[in-house]
Structure formats: structure tokens, C-alpha cells
């Protein structure tokens, strides 16, 4: 296992969101829930295969991690991932402190950082001028927050999470400006019902 635990942002490789999303999904074996944030983040989740345990957020920018926190609190035995972009996370950055306080052992926030609001025309986000998401997460109390150094390191970090590492954690990955591999079908009720049946507790229906 790669053990680069304190990679600095500047040393992290710029990777590809489609590729990393697929690497994540390929490692999911236990019906883990995945909440995809607004825009390209959930488009790539959609393109990685429409698992019923995926939730595709269509608006409410910044709320993927809080939604995932709600899922994690309701089902402590299921691992829950939130996928967010840098712009989204910065819009609801207090959520990092909320997660650190609630401290669910089964929540992992993954942040794709391309230093831009890609979907609206590539305008620079605040990470382009120095905001470091991992440093902010650690400052908020999420001590287990890490930059992925490269693809192999990203996979090893995901494996650690799936292996039952306790405590909430955050993985940040620098990504390029490649367009996502698909587009989510925007049918909110269908998305909710699929997700609810995909993660329904065995003893009750939604």
C-alpha cells in the first residue's frame, strides 16, 4: 500500500475525474452509497454505471456532503461517499466542521479540484488562488484528510476507507478540465426512488 500520507497540494498529480470515478466505483462491493454533487461530478458518476446506490443531486450546490451525512447517520452500517467539486465544497464549507463534529465512522468525502467552475465556462475558483481544501478540512477537525498523490495512491486511500478505517475522512484529488463522459438523466423522483430502493434497509421500504 502506498503510504504517502502528507502529500502537499502542489505535489499531487493532476488526474482525470472520469478515470478516478470509475476507479472508485470499481472498488465498491458492498452496496456502498454514493452521493454525487451538482454538475460534472454526478455526470461522471452517472457515466460510471448507474448503480441503484447512487444519488445524483441536480441543484442545491454544495449539499452533497450534508445529504451523505444524513444517509450515514441513518444507516451507520453502510459506507457512504460524497463526491463534490471544489466550487461546491467552498460554497458550503461549514459542512466540514459539521461532519467532524458528528463524526460518522462511515462517511468519506471525495473532492475533485480543477480550480474552476467548469460547467459554467471554466471561471477560476478560489482553489486557483491558494485555497487548500485538505488544509481547510483538517482545520475544520477532519484530521483524516489527504491529497491523492496519483491514481495508485487514490485507490489505496479508497481501499483504506473500504477496509473499515474509523472516523470520517476526506480525499481530495486534483483533476484536469476534460469534459465528463456522460450526462445524468434529470428525473428527480426517479433518481430518489431508485436510490431509496438501492439502499433500503432489509426490514422496511422507504
Amino acid at each position: 500500500m502506498t503510504t504517502i500520507s502528507n502529500t502537499e497540494r502542489g505535489a499531487a498529480k493532476v488526474m482525470n475525474r472520469t478515470d478516478l470515478t470509475r476507479r472508485l466505483v470499481a472498488r465498491l462491493q458492498k452496496d456502498e452509497a454514493v452521493v454525487g454533487g451538482i454538475g460534472h461530478t454526478n455526470w461522471d458518476l452517472w457515466a460510471s454505471g448507474q448503480r441503484p446506490q447512487n444519488f445524483y443531486m441536480l441543484g442545491s450546490m454544495g449539499l452533497a456532503a450534508p445529504i451523505a451525512l444524513g444517509v450515514a447517520v441513518a444507516q451507520p452500517d453502510r459506507m457512504v461517499f460524497a463526491l463534490e467539486g471544489d466550487g461546491s465544497l467552498l460554497m458550503q464549507v461549514g459542512a466540514l466542521a459539521t461532519i467532524a463534529t458528528v463524526e460518522p465512522a462511515n462517511l468519506c468525502v471525495i473532492v475533485w479540484d480543477n480550480e474552476a467552475f467548469h460547467i459554467t465556462g471554466g471561471q477560476k475558483s478560489l482553489t486557483a488562488t491558494g485555497a487548500d481544501i485538505v488544509a481547510m478540512a483538517r482545520g475544520a477537525g477532519l484530521t483524516n484528510s489527504t491529497w491523492a498523490a496519483d491514481e495508485a495512491h487514490f485507490e489505496s486511500l479508497v481501499d483504506e476507507v473500504l477496509g473499515g478505517t474509523t472516523g470520517p475522512r476526506l480525499i481530495a484529488a486534483r483533476i484536469d478540465m476534460t469534459k465528463p463522459a456522460g450526462t445524468t438523466d434529470r428525473d428527480p423522483v426517479k433518481i430518489r426512488l431508485n436510490f431509496m430502493s438501492g439502499i433500503a434497509p432489509p426490514d422496511k421500504e422507504g
Binding site: 449539499l63 451525512l69 444517509v71 447517520v73 441513518a74 444507516q75 459539521t98 423522483v189
Partner: protein, 179 residues
């Protein structure tokens, strides 16, 4: 659920009705009017209580929990509601997620803060325009019926709802009851 001899404070009634409806997750942003309710929720092991950084988070946590099979409610005051239109219009309304909110109404009947008095006027037009069920409780006697009915309707119809607590309920002295 019909016990109401006038002696039970409104916040105790709310807790009783939440339990009757198996609502055991509470998210809130602090508010002085809701203080006794919040304090009581924190000390009751039946409830999981989360105080996040912002109202949008509070709504999203309860929305996520609902989809995972757990019922919740969000507590806030009027100015907090004013931060929510985007989250309501793009998450809970189109996805048909029954997020129940309890909002203490500031900005009327003795408000000292002009900002509260102004932002308060945006609440009902927003609720109206996104088609959200809402009702304002003014009478102590109405608390169990309205809170129970709105919670049941929200979950039965997969629709968000706002229960507004008027100062007529929360601030008005009640004859024959300890304040």
C-alpha cells in the same frame, strides 16, 4: 395523543408528537424561542440531534436521512428560512422529499430588530411560490393536532412542510399555565 389539559407546555407537546410519528432525528440552527425545545431534545436519548453550520445543511441532512429510512425534522427561525429557497426549490420540492420544518416566527408583534422584521415578510411568499404546505400555529390547543397532522401528511404525500410557530403561541402569556 389527544391529551391537552392546557398544562403541557407547547415544546413538550411537540416532543410527544414527534415520538408518536417516529421522528427521531432533529437538525437545528439555534433560536432563542426554540431554546426549551432544543434543550429538551438534547437531553432525550430518543433523539439524535445535530446542530450544523447552516440551515441548508440542516435540510440536506434530514433529506439524506429520509432517503435512508429515517425520519427527521429541521428547526430554525425566520431569518434562517430566508437562506433556504434554492435548497428547497432544487432539492426537497422536485425530488419530493418530506422534509418537515418548524420555524419560530420572528419579525412581528414586538420585534426589536428591523432586519428580522423585513426578512420575515419574505417567508410566506417563498412558501407560496414553491407550493410548500405551511401553517401557522397561534393557539396552544392547536399544537398536537396541527403538528401531528402536518407530519403525517408530509410523509404520506412525500411533500415538504413548514410548521410556523407564531409569537401568539410562543410569547403570549397563557391564563392558568406556568410560564
Amino acid at each position: 395523543m389527544s391529551r391537552d389539559d392546557g398544562a403541557e407546555p407547547w415544546h413538550e407537546t411537540v416532543i410527544r408528537v414527534l415520538k408518536e410519528n417516529e421522528v427521531d432525528l432533529v437538525t437545528y440552527i439555534p433560536d432563542n424561542v426554540l431554546r426549551e425545545l432544543i434543550d429538551a431534545l438534547h437531553t432525550d436519548p430518543y433523539f439524535t440531534v445535530i446542530c450544523p453550520a447552516r440551515e441548508e445543511e440542516a435540510v440536506a441532512i434530514v433529506a439524506g436521512a429520509y432517503m435512508a429510512g429515517r425520519r427527521g425534522i429541521v428547526l430554525m427561525q425566520t431569518s434562517g428560512f430566508a437562506t433556504l429557497p434554492n435548497a428547497l426549490a432544487s432539492l426537497v420540492v422536485p425530488f419530493q422529499i418530506p422534509v418537515v420544518m418548524m420555524i419560530s416566527e420572528r419579525g412581528i408583534m414586538g420585534e426589536f430588530q428591523i432586519g428580522q422584521a423585513i426578512v420575515c415578510k419574505t417567508m410566506r411568499p417563498v412558501l407560496q411560490s414553491i407550493g410548500m404546505e405551511h401553517h401557522t400555529i397561534e393557539e396552544h390547543d392547536h399544537v398536537p393536532f396541527v403538528v401531528d397532522g402536518m407530519i403525517r401528511q408530509a410523509f404520506a404525500t412525500r411533500s415538504p412542510a413548514a410548521i410556523i410557530l407564531s409569537p401568539l403561541l410562543t410569547k403570549r402569556p397563557r391564563a392558568g399555565a406556568a410560564q
